[in-house]
Structure formats: structure tokens, C-alpha cells
């Protein structure tokens, strides 16, 4: 089986995840996993901050999608949107079960990134984004993560959140504005 790849790595929208395949049979499901598995996992770990919990959520999301494949309705979004809506519910259920603050385990990953000999400026920018994300309230952080990891349209984002499209746009707008504020604030603190 092919390795799951992040869709942004290829800079092209995933074929099956974006277009309704008609039926979600095993072959389509495998392709969906290949195209979206990494993104779902990235979304879950970014939201939960816990690798093992993210793994559970990823597995659970695909499991639930497979179980509910008969109820999938193409009028209500693409398989990718369905998948991320399921993953969001699973992640929130996981948070509810744990009843504790999500640990943010991205520090080590960033250190590993540093070892890749990328430019210092590039690394520092990501550190700023990471810190700014960590300062966001969970409700706003999940909108940003769904938008960027899930690569969902505003309509799909609205369906995943269970709110209207305009409300989803407003929420995304506010979250990104606040993210920018935090980024600028962190930047100013570093300069000072």
C-alpha cells in the first residue's frame, strides 16, 4: 500500500478527496487514505497535541468513515470534508474524555526541523507561528487547523463545524486576525 502523503506536498488538490467518487468502495477508500491520512493525522496532533491520541483519532476517523460510507451524501460535501468532520468530532470526543489541557508536542518536531539545516529565518518564522497558534483559544485554533490541514472550502468548513457558511467565514476571519496579532506581538517581544 502506498504511503500517505500530505496533499500540500504535491501542490495539487487530491483527486478523489475533492470529487465525489460515486461509491466509497475499498479502492476509493484506500486512495482517500493515501491522500488524506497524513492531513487528518496532522490536524489531530495539532489540535490534541498528543501523538498517541492523534493516532487513535486518525484510525477512528477512517473507521467511522468506512462504517458510514452508505450514508455519504455527495450533496453534503466531498469525502475529504466528511472525513475531516468525522475527525473533528472524534478529536473533540477525545478531548472531552481526557478532561485535561492538550499537550503541545510540537517543540521536538521543530527541533528536528532545525536539524534539517534550513534557513534560520524560516525556522524562526515557524516558531513564531507555532507560539501564536498555541496562544489562540481552542475554538479559534481548530478553525485554523481545519482550514489549513483539511484544505476545506468555507462551505465544507461550515458543514464540519455545524454552522452556517457566513458564520464559518466570520469565525475564520477572526481567528486569522488574532493569529496575526499574536505573531506580531511575539515578533515585537523578540525584537525588544
Amino acid at each position: 500500500m502506498s504511503r500517505p502523503v500530505s496533499s500540500s506536498d504535491e501542490h495539487a488538490p487530491p483527486a478523489i478527496a475533492r470529487a465525489w467518487p460515486g461509491t466509497l468502495d475499498a479502492e476509493v477508500f484506500e486512495t482517500l487514505f493515501r491522500e488524506c491520512g497524513a492531513d487528518v493525522h496532522a490536524y489531530a496532533i495539532s489540535l490534541l497535541g498528543d501523538r498517541s491520541a492523534a493516532e487513535d483519532v486518525t484510525a477512528l476517523a477512517f473507521e467511522r468513515l468506512y462504517r458510514s460510507r452508505a450514508r455519504l451524501d455527495h450533496r453534503r460535501g466531498t469525502p475529504r470534508a466528511w472525513l475531516f468532520a468525522i475527525a473533528r468530532n472524534a478529536a473533540l470526543d477525545e478531548l472531552r474524555r481526557r478532561r485535561r489541557e492538550p499537550r503541545y508536542e510540537l517543540e521536538d518536531e521543530l527541533a528536528a526541523d532545525r536539524d534539517c539545516a534550513e534557513a534560520l529565518e524560516h525556522v524562526e518564522r515557524r516558531a513564531t507561528v507555532r507560539d501564536a497558534l498555541a496562544r489562540l483559544p481552542l475554538r479559534e485554533r481548530e478553525v485554523v487547523l481545519l482550514k489549513f490541514h483539511g484544505q476545506l472550502s468555507n462551505g465544507e468548513l461550515a458543514r464540519a463545524l455545524g454552522i452556517s457558511e457566513s458564520n464559518a467565514g466570520t469565525r475564520l476571519h477572526r481567528a486569522l486576525i488574532r493569529l496575526r496579532e499574536h505573531c506580531l506581538q511575539i515578533d515585537r517581544q523578540e525584537v525588544a
Binding site: F29, A59, F62, I177
Partner: protein, 406 residues
């Protein structure tokens, strides 16, 4: 100095209203269609956010992959069975289930409905009643009530009498919807005319006879006249237990369309009382004669008393016979059944009128059954829907709540 190339169209903060252009620019940038410094910044921000998440662990990747391959194999084994079926669509499956349920209910109603009673075969009685035993049959007739004198007469006579023939008035059946008054002895009779096809006259007459026997009665007389052309006719005189007259008439009405029906009632309490009194008097006279005989001393007296006792014995037998005849009238009802074999009448009655009648009854009963089923199922379904909806809303509230508490 860190470089945060963040698009800055709106500097007013999060409290300003939604900027549609801002959002569409964002969508265009993330889709790769926007070509501007701002679009580049959005894409860079997206890549930065995505790069923060560590890649999936190879172990998880392998496990999930295996699980999907396993599902692939499992579903592949089921595919030939499921692929070509129209029932794969859940909507069609539900519709088919609903149609099947309605068909099943309708079928059950049609098969087990009450209008089928008219066509069910009449079972032959296992123990046909003996027509000579009027007392035994009258025992179950429940017609009219004997009074205190009757019991006295029975005691005097020393054998079954009118009281054994007639039951309590409280058990008497209603005739034409009117119950017999207590203490009254009544004689019932009825006549009914059935319409049948000329070919069915004989069969209908036979079914009438079997019905009489199955109801505990018997056929007094029967006359069937079948003609190749013209009107065929059958006349059957039945003697039925009075208690079963109503049910028997209803059963007769289900054998064929009823063209005419009449019922009559005659109060025979006076005749019954007179017969009973005669028996009591004769019995009392016998007692007196026997007492006188025991005291007689001369041959002349003894001879005269023997002669009177002999006459009295005849009088008692006559009175008992009379009383039994009256009781017989009270416990049995005579029914005259006429079966007319008229092609025109039969076709009209059987095909059009009766067909419409039966169709109407089928529809009414079907609707009633569906209504009763709906009265049970709809509230149940509503309750389930409410519970499921409440559970979903609660789950959603819990999920949203967790976002606000962090």
C-alpha cells in the same frame, strides 16, 4: 529579526465585520489561483502551520494500511453479492421495507378479516343433537323462566317437566335486539330469503342444512326445485335452538345475499302456565286418589278408585305431553329458508352489490388497522426521533463546550 509576511488588509482587529473580499482572496490564495504578495503570504502561512505537525508514525501508517487492506479483502468477498443489487441504495431499501410492511399488514387483514367468516366452510358437528330429546335441547335454549309452581309440579310428578325444558329468563337471548322479559315464555320464528345463481340453489340449500345441524338444530323439511330455464327454488324448514337463532340468521346471511328476512315472536306464557297447572292438578288428584285407596275398605270403593286412578294416569300423561309440547315450542325456533335461483338477482347481488360491499369493508378495515398501527408506531417513532435528536444535541453541546473551556 523575524519576518512574518502576514497579509494585512484589515488592521481594525477582530471586532470588525466580515470582509467578503478578504475571504475570497484567502480562498483564491489557498487554491493556488491568487498571484500576489498577499496570496504568497497566505500560502506560506498555510505551509508553516502544516509543517508544525509531525509526520505520521510509520507504525501507525503501517497499521492503518493493513487495516484498510484487510477491509478491502473483506468487502471484496461481499462485492459480487452487493454490487449489482438495486437495494444497495438505503433510500430504496427503506421504501421497499415500507411497501413490504404495508403489503404484509394488508394481506393479513384481507386473509384474517372478519368478512371472511361468510365464506369459511361449515364444520359438521361432532355430536348431532337428538331431535327426540326436547328436554335436553331446551336445557340450553335459555328461553323464558319457570315460576315456583313449576318446581312444585316437577316434584309432584317425580320426573323432568317444564322447568327442565326452559331456562332462566335472565339467560334468554335478545330477539330483534329486545331481551325477553323475566318470567315470560316466548316462541320464536323467522323466515329468510336468499338470492343465489340457479346453479347454486342446490349447493346453497345443502349449506343451509349443514348450518342447521352445526348450530344444534335439524331440518324439518326440505324441497329443492331446480330448472334448466327459469327460476330455481329451494325451501328448507329448520328447527333451531332459540338461543342460536340470531347467530344462525347471521350465518345464513353470509351464505348468499339476503333478499328478505322476517322474524316473529309469540308469547306462550299462558299456554305454558295452563299446561303446567293441568299437570300439577292431575298429580295432586293422583295423590288424593292414592290416599283414598289406602283408606278404602269395600270392594266397590277399591274398584271405583282404581278406575279413577287409571283415568287420572291418562290425564297426567296428557298434561305432561302438553307441557312438553309447549316447552318444545319455547326452546326451538322454526326458520323458513327460501333460496331463489334467479340469474338477474344473483348476478346483481353477488357481483355488483356484494362486491362493492366487500370492497368497502376491506378498505374500511384496512384503514382501521393502519390507523391503529399508526397510533402505536407514530408516537413510538416520534419518541425515538426525539431521543436520538436530544442525544445528538447533547453530544454536540458537549463537544462545543469543550472548545470553550480550553
Amino acid at each position: 529579526m523575524r519576518i512574518i509576511p502576514f497579509p494585512g488588509r484589515d488592521d481594525a482587529g477582530p471586532d470588525v465585520g466580515l470582509d467578503e473580499i478578504w475571504l475570497s482572496d484567502l480562498e483564491a490564495a489557498l487554491n493556488g489561483s491568487g498571484e500576489s504578495p498577499d496570496a504568497d503570504s497566505w500560502r506560506q502561512l498555510r505551509d508553516d502551520v502544516r509543517a508544525l505537525a509531525p509526520p505520521m508514525a510509520p507504525e501507525l501508517e503501517r497499521k492503518l494500511g493493513e487495516r484498510i487492506v484487510e477491509r478491502d479483502a473483506r468487502s471484496a468477498s461481499k462485492q459480487p453479492h452487493r454490487r449489482s443489487g438495486w437495494w444497495r441504495s438505503p433510500g430504496r431499501l427503506r421504501a421497499a421495507a415500507a411497501v413490504a410492511a404495508i403489503a404484509a399488514v394488508t394481506g393479513a387483514v384481507v386473509i384474517a378479516g372478519p368478512w371472511r367468516a361468510g365464506t369459511r366452510p361449515i364444520e359438521a358437528p361432532s355430536n348431532p343433537p337428538a331431535t327426540s330429546s326436547s328436554a335436553g335441547r331446551a336445557e340450553s335454549s335459555g328461553v323464558s323462566a319457570p315460576r315456583g309452581a313449576t318446581h312444585a309440579a316437577r316434584g309432584a310428578a317425580g320426573e323432568p317437566s317444564a322447568s327442565a325444558s326452559a331456562g332462566a329468563a335472565s339467560n334468554a337471548p335478545a330477539f330483534n335486539g329486545v331481551a325477553a322479559p323475566p318470567g315470560r315464555v316466548q316462541q320464536l320464528a323467522a323466515s329468510i330469503t336468499l338470492a343465489a345463481t340457479p346453479n347454486d340453489v342446490q349447493e346453497t340449500a345443502d349449506r343451509v342444512s349443514r348450518l342447521a345441524v352445526s348450530d344444534g338444530g335439524f331440518v324439518q323439511s326440505s324441497h329443492v326445485q331446480v330448472q334448466q330455464r327459469g327460476t330455481s327454488e329451494a325451501n328448507v324448514a329448520l328447527s333451531l335452538p332459540s338461543a342460536k337463532l340470531g347467530g344462525a340468521l347471521a350465518s345464513l346471511g353470509q351464505l348468499a345475499p339476503v333478499r328478505a328476512e322476517s322474524q316473529s315472536l309469540q308469547d306462550i306464557t299462558n299456554a305454558y302456565d295452563a299446561a303446567r297447572q293441568r299437570l300439577a292438578d292431575a298429580t295432586a288428584e293422583r295423590q288424593a286418589l292414592l290416599r283414598a285407596l289406602s283408606k278404602a275398605t269395600t270392594e266397590g270403593q277399591i274398584g271405583g278408585l282404581h278406575e279413577r286412578i287409571s283415568q287420572n294416569r291418562n290425564a297426567i300423561a296428557q298434561a305432561r305431553s302438553s307441557l312438553q309440547a309447549v316447552s318444545q315450542h319455547a326452546s326451538t325456533a322454526e326458520v323458513e329458508v327460501t333460496v331463489l335461483g334467479d340469474a338477474h338477482t344473483a348476478s346483481e347481488g353477488l357481483t355488483l352489490h356484494r362486491g362493492l360491499h366487500d370492497a368497502g369493508r376491506v378498505l374500511v378495515v384496512t384503514l382501521v388497522v393502519l390507523l391503529v398501527a399508526a397510533a402505536i408506531l407514530v408516537p413510538l417513532a416520534l419518541l425515538i426521533v426525539v431521543l436520538v435528536t436530544a442525544r445528538r444535541m447533547w453530544l454536540r453541546y458537549q463537544r462545543e463546550h469543550i472548545l470553550d473551556t480550553r
